[in-house]
Amino acid sequence: MHVKPSRMTLLRAFAAAGLTFLAAGANATEVNLYTTREPKLIQPLLDDFTQDTGIKVNTVFIKDGLLERVKAEGEKSPADVLMAVDIGNLVDLVQGGVTQAVSSKTLEDVIPANLRDPEGQWYALSLRDRIAYVAKDLDINTLTYESFADPKWKGKVCIRSGQHPYNTGLISAMIAHDGLEATEKWLRGVKANLARKAAGGDRDVARDILGGICDVGIANAYYVGHMKNAQPGTDARKWGDAIKVIRPTFQNGKSRGTHVNISGASVAKHAPHKAEAIQLLEYLVSEKAQSKYANANYEYPVRAGVKLDPVVASFGPLVVDPLPLAEIAKNRKLASQLVDKVGFDN
């Protein structure tokens, strides 16, 4: 019958085409990077690395489930470097048993101790401070995180989902600073102050401030860099121009530091190119790469003394909350449960 045979041929053709999807085999001068960071962000850095060292970088972008993927690949996994955002994810990778400890003088010199794993299982590559977006015309200059629960802000606060890692990171830090009970009270207070559902992204906080939905919000700093540096006339620029930045501190913080999260990396447990992997990490904290992070992504470099983007510099110097990130990571589960208990996202 004329229908079936042509379908068979088609099927065979596509099966053959399907085989062309096979991955390339492992090679000498290359390194395999599994990352949750958007390719556009890090591609320039990787290109520079290849140019300087001749080592090819094969990138796999995995938005969710990096741990599951690497775990499932097991011993044969070709992953060399695992790059992730958020301390919680990095700690998960370690606890999931897919990383290995590496030591490198370069890494240990450049990265402060509270921003790397004591055993060398993960290293911070850039800082992402979580700060306050404030309506430009509002007359305030300092804020504490705790004050967001103050009734004077009722109906004026915007923030993304409480379960989002950026927020659970902040809540974990707060638990470490103020204790579980106080943090629960704080969360309830903030929820009562919400101008709209805790949803959307960080940039939506700026947009909603412009839209008059709220006056203050909590979001990451580097988005402001993006927005204020956008071309005039674009939406992003309009939103950026509607806000100013205040770096909040913790009420009881002795050194009055701001909460930061990080983007970081680990070397995979069964990395076929371990040496190249460490080389890549060391490259990423070099002066050149760090200034790329600073200028291209508006994140705060983990390396001291790197020249900042003017917009970022205008926020003032960043004093990092000295609490070790490893400590904060321990509270993640509690923080997430607290969000559920309070029904923050409902």
Partner: protein
Amino acid sequence: MASTTEPLPLQASHSGTQRPRPWLEAGWGWRAGAALIAICVAAPVATLVWLAGMGDAGHWSHLIRYVLPEALTNTILLLAGVGVLVASLGTGAAWLVTAYTFPTSRILSWALLLPLAVPTYIVAFAYLDVLHPIGPVQSLIRNLLGYASPRDFRLPDLRSMTGAIFLLGFVLYPYVYLSTRVMFATQAANLIEAGRILGLSSRGVFLRVALPLARPAIIVGLSLALLETLNDIGASEFLGVQTLTVSIYSTWITRSDLAGAAQIALAMLGLVVVLIMAERRGRRRQRYSNTQRMRPMQARRLEGGPALLAMALGWLPIVVGFVVPVMYLASETAKHLHLTGGVSEQLWQSGLNTVRISLLATIVVVLCGLIVTWAARGARPGRPARIAGLCARASTMGYALPGTVLAIALLTPINGLDHALSWLRQSLTGMSPGLILMGSSTALIAAYTIRFLAISIGSLESGLARIPPSLEQASRLLGESPTGTFRRVHLPLLRPAIGASALLVFVDTMKELPATLLLRPVNFDTLATWLYAEAARGTYEEGAVAALAIVLAGLLPVILLARHQLKSGH
């Protein structure tokens, strides 16, 4: 009368069968194939159960107290709201376009399918901008009312249950529209005309004849739309509605609690089972094999006031579900292109990848659907085909699994298979080829098949049911074997159903996001994953380009489907 022993000249052959198979039952080969497919679909579900079992009781009790009740309530409310909206919009539109003729009604009949090309996450993303206080709509309203700033006047926020119901309803109604319209256009003529002759008003004809007749079609379309709602992650997430799917994501991603996510997923599966059982029960009582001549219904002509009303009602869903989002995406794309002057190479590559893999997946899905549906014919209690019938139901389950959970559940079996293959290859040839399956698109195709088999099965089952049994009997008596009958009678008559399901599957695989993100091979992007990457970065303007590309690409199958509808419907 002397009886002669002389045999009469006959052509009947003497070969018969011992223990004859009951009529209408497919051979064991078909049934084995169906069983294999059902197992492949069920395997991930089994993995889920196993994964769920690995979680600790402490976390389960936390989920029950704080997460599940809210998520369950929200999900049920969302389903109910979307269900009502989708059923009314879809059925109303189908009736409007079949029973009446008015200016633009012919265009409408296919244009009403357009929202199918717009994925739920894109429509949410578009409207959040369009209806934002500083967006075009509210700015216009403020201008008209004389308010200067959004701080003086604002409409309620779209990020709510109502907003979600509204958006999902206007983008998912085509499922009901599609199935109901086919029913009205081909089956209803005689009965509807009888109703009119008996003096029923138009509304009476609609409520008392057309609606009950269309019930199976409505239920089929409704169940597809509701399953789509259950699976949606993008729209619910953007709009802040804590559905079960959103909870699964947050449980897995932020708490890295795979077991907990699997537990919620199982709860969702329970909901789906209820949905599917209700749908089957609703359909069982109906006989939809129409032995009457199939001819189109006589449409009544509308003019003047009623015609305008009909036009307004008919175009409204299209405007909301398609025109507005597309215009938004087009303008954002134009802005972006004006600013940057071009489209990236990555976008082109993503597009090609998307088309290739969707085509492959569609072929696999339709073939599997044919095998399963054919094997399940004649499924009755006590018959062996009953198992094939259960296989068909089991194969439908995959649609219930949210893409991400399905992907995770698939990782384990596929990985096992991979290691086995690798071991085999190594022991046979001494070569270590690495991970073949994970590196290829096999895992992804498997995921698409599991997820979308239901579309193929549903369409083929109702297509098969529309073929009167007498056709098969006639073919058999004319000397054709069961397989020959399938080839020469059923397949050609199933072509519309095959075509319709192929197109739906194609469009759905193109739009698919969560499973693709996890299961795709190295450096392989589809349009959807590229769009999400852009959105993750926060650069919505560039994301709009990919979104527009998805919608445009998705338009083609929709238009083909619409044209095909036009041909067969009239």
